[in-house]
Homo-oligomer: 259 residues x 2
């Protein structure tokens, strides 16, 4: 019997990235798509506790899917508890745009969905594809770059390795980032500190009142061994992520200060 | 000269919890309030990249504040980069409702704001107050429970200790949870796995179509040493949080599997 996969994302159920993952995974697994109905980038691990959630059966590209009126985290919860799926693996992506560094994984809806899954029990993999043109991240339809077989091959290879050898130990979520141009193999990496120099751009509306866009350039240099460095070298970055953000190294000092 | 604090939250700029923190902190620091204009609970570390952000000067309870039309993360970014504040400490809260366990800290806007601050440079403390009635978490105005001086005293004590002795080492964010009824002192804790048994409740609209509410009961038992356990014992939980979710224990196994 084929292993089962719950496939979700943050770009929405019609994203070319999701369907590229579907095409690759359906060769090796029974895949159920449960994804946000609309674009939900940068919502991190938001969860809908003030609004009820609707679930719609849809057909996309000739395949059945569930569209969830909510966040990526909601889609995972609906898949597990309303649809009662019991997947061997949750896959989130392929996101159009890399999800690298501490900063990005916590603001990413793609990684947010994977973290939610892991918190609920199933292990999870997040796939993201580097794009060199930042504007392209949010183009839609964005199927063009998804016709590149080498990208689907990475999804198939990572997941079939997991099905054969088991999910990596000491890991809750495996965060996979695929370079725009693949020049090397896999590199096991740690998270970089940040991917962008965060900042704001002030603009003025036609009435002369200011408003702000969050924006900032990419960081120039990345330390060797980090996810940012690996992807910039053209290697496929595999970062093991833990849900537990406790910093035990701080315990002794904190006790001295407060107890 | 007094130390400087950027004070934010996720319940919105008019929350009684924020102003309880303000009252406590203004005795020991120069406090600038930069907070979401409206309720933003459970948005985690969402960041507004599709919408421009407005900033409004407002007067609340007789004090000046900045209301940001965005998420808690946006409020921090606007405070640091549009208002060019350079605070000694970022404080987020006091949230009405505990933020305990892996699960809650990643879906919490209160902790999300603190994580964003720490990623940008300033160290940050998140304060949350346990409530026994889950519905009460989102009541507004909710100033009643904020007239309890013992809650403000915790904020003042934690922050004055940080100003005197420095921010705890090996920590990016200090996550402080105050029990509804304080029965003991501080306990340095690790994050529990979860606070709720996540699930969904199916209901039917007047037209017979289903919709879902995310909900679930609190977990019954909490391991000793965790944040959930400490707060249930009536102790003030101090959890040191790291931004780096890399799981280095997984490196060797992953390399064997993939490289």
């Amino acid at each position: 019997m084929k292993p089962t996969v719950l496939l979700t994302n943050d770009d929405g159920v019609s994203s070319g990235g999701l369907w590229a993952a579907y095409a690759a995974l359906s060769e090796i697994a029974e895949v159920t798509v449960v994804a946000p109905a609309t674009q939900q980038s940068a919502v991190g691990r938001s969860i809908s506790i003030f609004e009820p959630i609707r679930l719609h059966k849809v057909i996309i590209n000739g395949f059945p899917a569930y569209a969830v009126d909510g966040k990526p985290t909601d889609a995972v919860i609906i898949g597990l508890y309303a649809l009662r799926l019991n997947p061997d693996l949750v896959v989130s992506g392929i996101n159009i745009g890399e999800n690298l560094s501490f900063e990005s994984i916590m603001t990413s809806g793609t990684v947010g969905a994977a973290l939610e899954a892991a918190n609920q029990g199933p292990r999870a993999v997040a796939f993201s594809l580097q794009v060199n043109d930042q504007g392209m991240k949010f183009d839609d339809p964005r199927s063009d770059m998804m016709h590149d077989d080498s990208i689907g091959d990475v999804v198939k290879d990572v997941c079939s390795t997991i099905f054969e050898k088991g999910f990596p130990e000491h890991t809750d979520v495996l965060n996979v980032n695929i370079p725009a141009e693949i020049k090397g193999g896999y590199e096991v990496t740690r998270l970089a500190h940040t991917l962008f120099h965060t900042g704001v751009e002030e603009r003025f509306d036609p009435r002369g009142r200011p408003y702000y866009w969050i924006d900032g350039p990419l960081v120039e240099d990345a330390e060797e061994g980090t996810d940012v460095h690996a992807v910039r070298q053209g290697r496929i970055s595999l970062t093991p992520i833990t849900l537990d953000c406790t910093a035990p190294a701080a315990f002794e000092g904190l006790r001295k200060q407060f107890c």
